[in-house]
């Protein structure tokens, strides 16, 4: 069976890739995708620790990830609605060019 270390390293690399995308890409949609990748990396950690630990309460890890997925879905919906609204105003999704506070 794969040791816990490897799952943690895998999720760390996934988190770093998501962070790089969120920090470096100019397109707002890809920034959102990067944030989703980071959330998924956290979910992998939850499930890995749940699987490799003694389970006093057998379902706790699974429950946590289910709620986490629900919140991530809500965040994606609101984030994309915001991006569409901003696009209608500025005609761009480039985060470098969205720099006005006053509409």
């Amino acid at each position: 069976m794969t040791p816990l270390h490897q799952y943690l390293i895998f999720s760390t690399l996934l988190f770093s890739i998501g962070l790089a995308g969120a920090l470096l890409r100019r397109n707002a949609i890809l920034v959102l995708v990067g944030i989703e990748l980071m959330l998924n990396a956290a979910n992998i950690n939850f499930i890995a620790f749940w699987r490799y630990s003694p389970n006093p309460e057998p379902n706790a890890g699974v429950m946590f990830v289910i709620f986490s997925i629900a919140i991530a879905a809500a965040e994606a919906a609101v984030g994309l609605a915001l991006i569409i609204s901003i696009y209608r105003h500025y005609r761009t999704t480039n985060v470098k060019r969205i720099d006005g506070l006053k509409g």
Partner: protein, 194 residues
């Protein structure tokens, strides 16, 4: 080390890198779907069947479609020619990412992890999850329901098209034209503007 884990991890990480670095946004979305599918496979490998299938449904199904629609709706010319040059913010961004990755990896390498005490896979049936959602976790479930409702209403309100200010009654009143409900009133307002 498991061969299946290596294959899944390499595929997932490669598609994640592609999703974050390709130029074409639709290619990015497709690679992102592959990344989410790989993460679902990881969940399945860790004996979390319900979470793996929920991941497939929510991410590969719903979130991917949502992102593809957002890409199609915000399609503009400048999205293609996203200029790539090494600016100071790029260097700082890479520095932050490298710092986070190195510190996390160092922390993982230096942690003494106890051998797994339950080698037998914990079996979590869907029935058990449903029972727990209705008993122990009923309050979080209600809160999540409220949150999803609020997010849905909020997304609709934010993305709703704002009424065109030229058509609104306020503008006509401000221009001094008489407020009438007949179709000619708009024409009068335009004439008054000119």
């Amino acid at each position: 080390m498991d061969l299946a884990f290596i294959i899944i991890a390499v595929l997932t990480l490669a598609s994640a890198v592609a999703a974050m670095s390709l130029r074409n946004l639709v290619h990015c979305a497709l690679c992102m779907v592959m990344t989410f599918a790989g993460i679902a496979l990881t969940f399945l490998q860790l004996n979390a069947e319900f979470v793996g299938l929920a991941q497939l449904l929510v991410y590969v199904g719903a979130v991917a479609i949502l992102i593809v629609f957002a890409i199609l709706l915000t399609r503009s010319e400048d999205a293609k020619k996203e200029v790539r040059f090494v600016s100071s913010s790029t260097v700082v961004g890479f520095g932050v990412v490298a710092l986070v990755a190195v510190s996390l990896l160092a922390a993982i390498q230096h942690t003494q992890i106890l051998p797994p005490q339950s080698v037998v896979a914990p079996h979590v049936s869907v029935k058990r999850i449903g029972e727990q959602l209705m008993t122990n976790y009923v309050l979080p479930l209600e809160v999540i329901g409220l949150l999803l409702t609020a997010a849905m209403i909020g997304a609709v309100v934010i993305a709703m098209r704002e009424p065109d200010p030229a058509d609104s009654v306020d503008v006509q009143q401000r221009n001094g034209s008489p407020l009438k409900l007949d179709p000619d009133s708009k024409k009068t307002a335009v004439v008054a503007n000119e």
